[in-house]
């Protein structure tokens, strides 16, 4: 079992020819990678495809991982680039996602998710759905900070921006999430207070 080993140790084993050890890294990070991809591409099927692509790209480029940063930070950089490429291919550029028409698409998708009444009542689900309504940039920075446990310096490195710019982006994303919660999920939030 490799579950107790740190990432760098596992990477050395994979680079040494023990390809199967890579499964430990996939198991360890699949939820993080999938969630990040989902926050950006807004669709489970697409997110799974992106996540799979990310792990394959990471495997192919593993020899280039120098260990200067955490493996997770390096991996999330690949998630960011792959998701952006995927969105471009689908003509859903990050900026255009802020347009009303795309919000309508997202809303439509969200309404299909609302079948689960129990989940709909939950505050956590309401927040997750509100995050789903944010632009990919906002959703990504929130996920990286809160769920992927990346510092602002690491987020800056992943997104190719300065830590201060990452901080501003995070503040704005939280502000916009607050607006979404108040606009679309006021009832859910109020009921559970």
């Amino acid at each position: 079992m490799l579950t107790g080993l740190d990432d760098n140790h596992i990477i050395q084993k994979v680079l040494g020819g023990d390809t199967q050890s890579y499964a430990t890294l996939v198991d360890r990070y699949q939820n993080y990678v999938f969630t990040l991809a989902l926050r950006m591409v807004k669709n489970r099927e697409d997110a799974e495809e992106v996540a799979q692509d990310v792990f394959i790209k990471a495997f192919r480029a593993l020899a280039d991982f120098r260990g200067n940063s955490k493996f997770s930070t390096w991996l999330y950089t690949i998630v960011n680039n792959t998701s952006i490429t995927y969105l471009r291919k689908k003509r859903l550029q990050t900026h255009s996602l802020e347009q009303e028409s795309v919000f309508a698409q997202v809303d439509a998708r969200e309404s299909t998710l609302s079948a689960n009444q129990v989940e709909q009542k939950s505050r956590v689900a309401a927040v997750s759905r509100a995050i789903g309504l944010l632009s990919p940039d906002d959703a990504e920075v929130l996920t990286l900070f809160y769920k992927a446990e990346q510092s602002l310096e690491e987020i800056g490195s992943i997104l190719g921006i300065e830590p201060n710019a990452a901080k501003v982006r995070l503040h704005r994303a939280r502000g916009r999430l607050k607006e979404k919660l108040e606009t679309h999920f006021a009832e859910e939030i109020k009921n559970l207070n």
């Binding site: 994979v14 499964a23 999938f34 799979q52 792990f55 192919r60 505050r123 901080k167 995070l170 939280r174």
Partner: protein
Amino acid sequence: MNRESMESRIWDYLDGRSNPSERLQVEDLLKTDIAWRSLYDELREVHDAIAATHLEGPSLRFTRNVMEEIGRLQIAPATRNYINKRVVWGIGLFFILLVLGFLIYGFGQMDWSGGKGSSFAENLGKVDVSRFFSNTWVNAFMMVNVVLGLVLLDHYLRGKSEVGRRKTTR
């Protein structure tokens, strides 16, 4: 203090990024100022709500699918191993020599004897660059050269500042 500034300080406090004195100041404001306390409660609620969200999971076959794909692939050799550093340095040297050549040519045409009419500004006007820069392609080439140089300089300085920041945070 405006709301934006208050929010920024409270977020820093919530994220644990305030320095000790700033932390004490914010704590003091939260105890004494109702506006601060009210905003803090609002932001704290958002902060806790995001932190409480769950990670999503892919399909159960995900790892198996990835490993099957990987079984058909090989790890690519490290980029640093197949990019010959001598080639990179050679290209860099070519551009440096090119720029130096132009500079030497320009300075060579100056009158260095001193006295009236030989100031640097006046000499600069005498440099005959028309022989080289009469062609659009040469002009464009030199422009690209200068832009590339600036990009490399920017990259180098960013690298240095990154190293400096890491040293200070350790």
